[in-house]
Every structure is written in C-alpha cells, then in structure tokens.
C-alpha cells in the first residue's frame, strides 16, 4: 500500500514538473534566430544541401564526437559484460542449420543491403540519412548473415582495425580543421565544390563515411558479443 502511494506520488510529481514545459510549447509560425542563421547561412557557408547534416557534422560537430564516444563506451561495456570466462569454456553445441530459403535469400540480399548502407552515408549531405543511419543498415546486413550462418565467425582483427582507424581519422580531420580552416571539425579543409553534387560540402561526406564505418563496426561488435554469449 505504501509502495502504491509512493509510486503515485512520484508520477504526480513528474506530471507537475513536466506540465509547464509541455504547455509552453506553442505552435510556432517562424524560426527562432539561431535556426534562422543556420538555414540562411548554412548552404553558402558549408555547401551542404541537407541542413540537418550541416548542424550535426559541423555546427554541432563536438556533440557528434561526444555521441560517438558514448556509443563506443556502450560497446565496450557490452563486450566487457559478455566476455568469455577463461577456463569455463563451454563446448560450442551444434546449432541447427538454417533453411535453404534463408541462406539463398541472405546471399542475394546481403550485398544489396551493404550497398544501400554505403549509399545512405555517402549521400548524407544531400538526402535524408547519414553516418548513423548508414551504419545501422550495414549492421543489419551482418545480422542477417549471422542468423542464416550461425557457425560463421567474424574476423575481429578487421573489425577492430576498421573501428579504430575510422575513429582516429575522424579526430585527425577535426584537428586539421583547426590549422586549415576556422576551427575544430570545420568542413572547409576541402574545397566546397558545386552545391548539390556528391563531391561537395568539403569534408562532410568524408566525416560521415567515417562515422558510418565506426557506427557499423561498433554495432556489429555488440551483435557479435551477444551472439557468442548465448549459452
């Protein structure tokens, strides 16, 4: 009874705390000044057609770096919690083979899903999408092949190499921005190019490709440690 009362009390407290915030949200008719500046100056300054991308990768690039760091820490936590204990090595029991339909379908679909993921993160500055989405799509391709070939092992050396290299290169590009352009993670270290082309917007496609590879390999790492630990 006391517990019920406490739960009700917490909920009422939360409602009182959040209600002013929600009731303050008015239907807007105009952009606020900061958004106006980003929308007005963004295309000419950074050359990216997708304005959300220019906010994520350049104007708020430091936030994205922090986000990649959080993702890395979460992956490290997953790997640490699900590590194989030495000595108590369970003999890998025979897993049932997947069906013919799943195997053939995987062989057909995996390259296409990979291609789609790469397309999404390469065109992050032109169309909706970007590094995080592309990375997740690539991880889903690996998940599909994990489901249909349960015996297969992922090459951890290549996975770790891709993850570390893309992380380090992302930082290197960020630091290059200090010396060659206006500041950390500035994308104008490369020529801006024609607006709306694939090779435009300076370093944004490069940064987004690196983020895509890093996110993809980290999520594959999570999936791999989850798959190996089922006992």
């Amino acid at each position: 009874m006391v517990k019920r009362f406490l739960i009700l009390l917490v909920l009422v407290f939360f409602v009182i705390m959040l209600l002013p915030l929600v009731s303050d949200i008015q239907p807007q008719t105009e952009l606020n000044p900061l958004a106006k500046k980003y929308v007005k100056d963004g295309p000419d300054e950074l050359g990216s057609a997708n304005l959300v991308t220019s906010v994520i990768v350049t104007y708020r690039g430091l936030d994205t770096l922090g986000e990649v760091a959080v993702l890395f820490i979460a992956t490290a936590g997953v790997g640490f919690m699900l590590r194989r204990r030495k000595g108590s090595k369970t003999n890998p029991q025979k897993k049932r083979e997947s069906s013919e339909i799943l195997q053939t379908g995987t062989a057909l679909l995996t390259p296409l899903i990979f291609l789609f993921g790469i397309y999404i993160f390469l065109h992050g500055h032109l169309t909706p999408g970007g590094g995080f989405q592309g990375g997740v799509v690539i991880a889903s391709a690996i998940l599909l092949s994990m489901l249909s070939f349960p015996q297969s092992e992922i090459n951890h050396k290549i996975l770790n190499a891709i993850e570390s290299l893309s992380g380090v290169l992302y930082l290197v590009i960020g630091i290059l921005g200090i010396y060659l352009a206006a500041g950390f993670l500035d994308n104008r270290i490369l020529p801006l190019g024609d607006f709306g082309r694939l090779f435009s917007a300076g370093a944004i496609p490069v940064i987004y490709s690196l983020i895509g590879l890093k996110v993809g390999s980290e999520l594959v790492g999570i999936l791999d440690s989850m798959q190996r630990s089922d006992s």
């Binding site: 959040l18 009731s23 994520i56 169309t127 909706p128 995080f132 989850m226």
Partner: protein
C-alpha cells in the same frame, strides 16, 4: 500545446509508470524505451512549424527562400543524436539483464535484494 507534444508527455508518464510498477526486468527496459520515445516526440514538437517542410534544399526548395519554408533543423539533429544513444543504452541494459539472469536464473527484480534497505 500541440498534439505531438501531448502524446510525447503521455508516453513519458506511461513509461515511468511501467518502470515503477513492473517486476520483470525486461518490462522495465521496455518502459525506459517508451520514455525515450516520448522525449523524442517532445523535442521534435518544439521545432515543428505547421505547414513547413524538411530542411533539405533541392530543386523545389531554393536556397534563397529556405528561411520561410523549412522547420527548425536543430531539434531534428538533437533527436538523431538521442536515438543512437538510446539504442546503445538499451543494448547495454539488455546485456545487464542477461548477466543478472545468469547469476540467479531469474528476471524478477524482487529476487535481487543486495542493494535493498
């Protein structure tokens, strides 16, 4: 108050209620995900402007006129960040649940009394 922000608000409260009342650890994690979704809706509804379009410039939406035609890009960027972090945190919580199950063969939160006072 817009419709989307009200839905987000309701989802946050529902998720919190679920986290506080359920005993199964998996259901607690589901409650956390519902809170997450509610917060995303709340943030997106801050930047939405009625009748305007996504902030992506193409042959229809010209650079010069973009200011009058697009929604706020900043909340969208923040929500994108929040979604990825929500994914990572959910994966980490599920792994904790796996670990707890391996210790005690139970997913009931009442079976874990070490930190209870």
């Amino acid at each position: 108050m817009t419709l989307v922000s009200i839905i987000g608000f309701v989802l946050i409260i529902v998720g919190l209620w679920g986290m506080l009342t359920q005993n199964n650890i998996i259901k607690i994690i589901i409650g956390f995900s519902i809170i997450d979704t509610g917060i995303h809706l709340l943030i997106v509804s801050i930047g939405y402007i009625k009748g305007k379009t996504a902030p992506i410039i193409d042959s229809v939406l010209l650079k010069t006129d973009a200011v009058n035609q697009v929604v706020d890009p900043i909340p969208s960027a923040l929500v994108l960040t929040a979604i990825v972090i929500g994914l990572a945190v959910t994966a980490l919580m599920l792994v904790y649940a796996v670990n707890l199950y391996q210790r005690k063969q139970s997913l009931d939160i009442n079976d874990f009394e070490e930190l209870k006072w």
